[in-house]
């Protein structure tokens, strides 16, 4: 019996750090509407700073806690810099730019931490005076765990006082509901946003610091905690601090007991819990529905139009260039272009989901990797011929998308995004943990095309035909009635429903189609490389796709292609440097700040005035350009 009690207390202890970090994420999102992906990095920094400060000033009982607070303050300072330098310029940009910018911050922090603290895992210092062990009915338990158990409710109480008993807190809560109105009452929003961001960062830092004696500090903490934080925030309900606390406790208990029952399946258990809660209560335990009421003016979005004459010429020229490319360049570049083609198809499928469907997925790599694994497993276990595997892979990925999409389309906006991320993480952990079948981290090797297609030249043309064919198919769907209906659903679910569109079904079909196309790209990938590893399904890979879409520009249909090319080029150039993540992160942040429309979007914007890049509008639809000319 006492074993379970200690296990229970240990669960509560690990809930504290998770709660601190997640509450910060929740508060930041509530007010600024920024999903801060770098929040995991702030947590990690908290641990590293804590490690250093405890060594420098941490002598004695008071010094230790003082050092942890100092670590939280230091992370708050980092948050301040991130907010002032990057996010402040992006509040009016589409949400995605903020996501990508914070993703850039993740990369930067990873390399800075590597540079400052080295690659070795750091063993956490012990808290003076709390190093012992207490016996609970005979079962030993670290005393520090008791301190951790107390820390969660203490911080919860402090936050409650802050938000309910101070004017600042009242203004923050008001801004969570209606930012513009708060400004109209004379409150400086920028100041409020900065304050909230710093507070949230400090909480993440404190969370990372207080778990030091238990978990130490290492470079994998950022992504490690990120998925868990998302689950906590989504399960608890966006913006609800008490909800975050309950969810953190629930998840941590599930983890500690799950480990007794099903040691390999803890990650999966957590996400299953989340899926169940979200299907029953789409806004989380204590969350409230998103108020669609008073958003700040989003500005007019340019309507998607079929290609105009100049643009068609341009596409034809690019295609012609791709056709004669083998004559112009050597094998090395041909392989590089195959990579670009594969990624372009992958990115285009995500772009379709995002721009036409209005469904931002954070876990699209599940289907890319899903397709790759489907093909690889078929070849490995069923000796499926290459041609058939190539055909079945998108079906497999589509099936996976059907299952995942069935849950996800019940949600919208940021909940949808987080649920896709969660499911992608489940898919990844299954592939990673189920090593009997998937070979786990060692991957599946020796997945090559048939003899006729194994030469680089033939495979290049095959990839060209499939990738370009896939992209044209996606384009065709965008301008088909199905695509119009999907766009209507994106722009106003209520109005679309009122004219008889089955919204959930429409979105599910789009999700499955996008998943299948990503799977096709994944199958191409596995046959071009001959192997596949769980990385292809991981969160960073999903971000790569988002990055490509954004590099190219969300509003431009050729964006993903440009984005994939730019990404591949950047990646290839930077990977040779020791601190390539830092450079990539800085590049991402710079691109987001300089080209908020993406590369292709910017080109279209500047060239569109002189060239006919879009077809003339038919009918009486009044769009941006006519209004400007009128």
């Amino acid at each position: 019996m006492s074993v379970y009690l200690v296990q229970f207390l240990s669960g509560l202890a690990s809930a504290s750090a998770l709660f601190l970090a997640a509450s910060g994420l929740s508060i930041i999102f509530g007010v600024t509407r920024v999903v801060n992906f770098a929040h995991g990095s702030f947590y990690m920094l908290g641990a590293f700073f804590g490690y250093t400060f405890v060594r420098e000033v941490g002598g004695g009982g008071i010094g230790f806690w003082f050092a942890l607070l100092l670590a939280a303050l230091a992370v708050g300072l980092v948050g301040l810099v991130v907010e002032l330098v990057i996010l402040r310029r992006l509040y009016k940009a589409p949400e995605l730019f903020q996501l990508i910018a914070t993703f850039g911050v993740i990369l930067i922090v990873q390399d800075v931490a590597l540079w400052a603290w080295g690659a070795e895992d750091l063993l956490g210092p012990r808290a003076p005076g709390l190093t012992g062990i207490v016996r609970i009915f005979g079962t030993p338990m670290p005393v520090y765990d008791l301190a951790l158990i107390a820390a969660g409710p203490l911080v919860l109480a402090a936050l409650w006082l802050l938000f309910n008993r101070t004017r600042w807190g009242i203004l923050v809560r008001a801004a969570t509901e209606d930012r513009e109105m708060v400004a109209a009452l004379g409150v400086n929003q920028s100041l409020l946003f900065t304050g909230v961001f710093v507070l949230g960062s400090m909480l993440a830092g404190l969370g990372g610091a207080i778990q030091l004696p238990k978990g130490g500090a290492d470079l994998l903490m950022d992504f490690g905690i990120l998925a868990e934080m998302f689950v906590v925030v989504v399960v608890g309900g966006m913006g609800s601090i008490l909800g975050a606390f309950l969810a953190a406790v629930l998840i941590s208990l599930l983890n500690t007991f799950g480990i007794l029952v099903w040691p390999d399946g803890t990650l999966v258990l957590m996400f299953i819990l989340m899926a169940v809660i979200l299907v029953v209560r789409p806004t989380g335990l204590l969350g409230r529905p998103e108020t669609a009421g008073h958003k700040a003016e989003a500005g007019f979005e340019t309507a998607l139009r079929p290609a105009g004459p100049h643009y068609k010429l341009f596409i034809a020229a690019v295609l012609a260039l791709l056709l004669v490319l083998p004559v112009l360049v050597g094998e090395f570049y041909l392989i590089l272009v195959i990579d670009i083609l594969v990624l372009a198809l992958f990115a285009t499928s995500l772009h379709f989901l995002m721009s036409t469907g209005g469904l931002v997925s954070f876990g699209h790599a599940a289907f890319y990797g899903g397709g790759a694994y489907a093909a690889a497993l078929l070849v490995t276990y069923a000796a499926t011929p290459f041609e058939l595997a190539l055909l079945l892979a998108p079906l497999g990925a589509g099936l996976l998308a059907l299952v995942i999409g069935w849950f996800c389309v019940r949600l919208s906006g940021v909940y949808f995004a987080m649920l896709t991320l969660a499911f992608a993480q489940v898919a990844w952990s299954i592939v990673f943990q189920w090593s009997d079948v998937t070979n786990g981290d060692d991957g599946l090797l020796g997945i090559w095309p048939s003899a006729w297609a194994s030469g680089t030249l033939v495979f290049y043309f095959l990839a060209l035909v499939i990738a370009v064919g896939g992209i044209f198919l996606i384009r065709r769907v965008i301008f088909a009635p199905f695509g119009y209906g999907l766009r209507a659903t994106r722009d106003s679910t209520l109005r679309a429903a009122a004219i008889g569109i089955d919204i959930k079904r429409q979105q599910l079909v789009a999700f499955v189609f996008a998943g299948a196309m990503a799977g096709l790209a994944g199958a191409l990938f596995v046959f071009s490389k001959g192997s596949v590893f769980p990385d292809e399904m991981s969160i960073p890979r999903s971000f790569d796709a988002l990055l490509m879409v954004l590099l190219g520009g969300v509003e431009s249909l050729s964006g993903p292609f440009v984005g994939a090319a730019a990404f591949t080029y950047l990646h290839d150039e930077l990977i040779t440097f020791e601190y390539w993540r830092l450079l990539l992160g800085l590049t991402i942040v710079a691109l987001v700040l300089l080209f908020p429309q993406g590369l292709a979007g910017a080109a279209k914007h500047y060239l569109g005035r002189y060239l006919k890049l879009e077809a003339e509008p038919t009918g009486a639809a009044v769009t941006k350009r006519e209004v400007r000319e009128a």
């Binding site: 004017r167 009242i170 203004l171 809560r173 008001a174 969570t176 509901e177 209606d178 513009e180 109105m181 708060v182 400004a183 109209a184 009452l185 004379g186 409150v187 400086n188 929003q189 409230r288 009421g293 008073h294 003016e297 500005g299 007019f300 941006k624 209004v627 400007r628 009128a630």
Partner: protein, 233 residues
């Protein structure tokens, strides 16, 4: 004291206001009247810096407002009561009022909690209730009270009677008259000529983003042609 001169406003690329000018002086209630979509709210939002104004001037007590961020415009003394109420539904009545609090302003009436609870007895009773649980009329009262907590030098009141029962509209008329009695000028936007005539001294008629008529309330009531052309439904 509040003057709007020849402003042009845009929503994104759509040109909404053309050459709109108006003025509001101490102690008067001025109505901006027009049909749905005529540009009333856009005019008010332009003054508040919530809509892009590309040409023209806006000033209050001689200080230029155009191009300033919204919160600074509010701090200069422009009190804004939005249409559709926009109370903070998850805050209590008391907290809503606290959110509106700003330091007292020279030359403007000063409002304390007790003054407002005198003016709006319903709110005093509902002090600790969540604003989201109030009736539409009570929410409208709360938005007015919340704006008064900022001790403004003038008030922009955007369609306060919209969607409210006649008995509530009567209360709002009383409140407007009491605020006016304190010497606080009010720019009222309204569709209903009768409501406007009960509280206003002067009127501007707006239609498709242009001011079509300006004069005293009496002149507007006498001018059947203007009424027919721009206000008849």
């Amino acid at each position: 004291m509040l003057s709007v001169e020849k402003i042009h406003s845009y929503y994104g690329q759509a040109h909404i206001l053309t050459d709109v000018s108006l003025a509001l002086s101490t102690g008067e209630v001025v109505v901006l009247i027009g049909r749905n979509g005529a540009g009333k709210s856009t005019t008010i939002k332009s003054i508040m810096g919530m809509v892009k104004v590309t040409e023209g001037d806006i000033s209050f007590d001689g200080e230029a407002l155009r191009g300033e961020p919204t919160h600074r415009i509010a701090r200069r003394g422009i009190g804004y009561v939005p249409e559709e109420r926009r109370v903070f539904t998850r805050l209590t009545v008391q907290e809503n009022l606290e959110a509106g609090q700003q330091p007292p302003r020279e030359g403007a009436p000063r409002w304390r909690f007790d003054d407002l609870f005198d003016l709006f007895p319903n709110l005093a009773e509902a002090r600790h209730r969540l604003a989201g649980t109030l009736s539409g009329g009570e929410q409208q009262m709360l938005t007015i009270a919340r704006t008064l907590m900022g001790n403004p030098g003038c008030i922009l009141l955007d369609e306060p009677s919209e969607g409210l029962a006649p008995v509530v509209v009567e209360q709002i008329i009383k409140v407007i008259q009491q605020i006016k009695a304190q010497g606080l000028p009010i720019l009222l936007s309204e569709q209903n000529l009768y409501f406007a005539s009960l509280v206003s001294d002067r009127a501007y008629v707006i239609e498709t983003g242009r001011i079509r008529f300006s004069g005293t309330m009496h002149e507007l009531e006498e001018n059947a042609e203007i009424r027919q052309q721009y206000l008849a439904v």
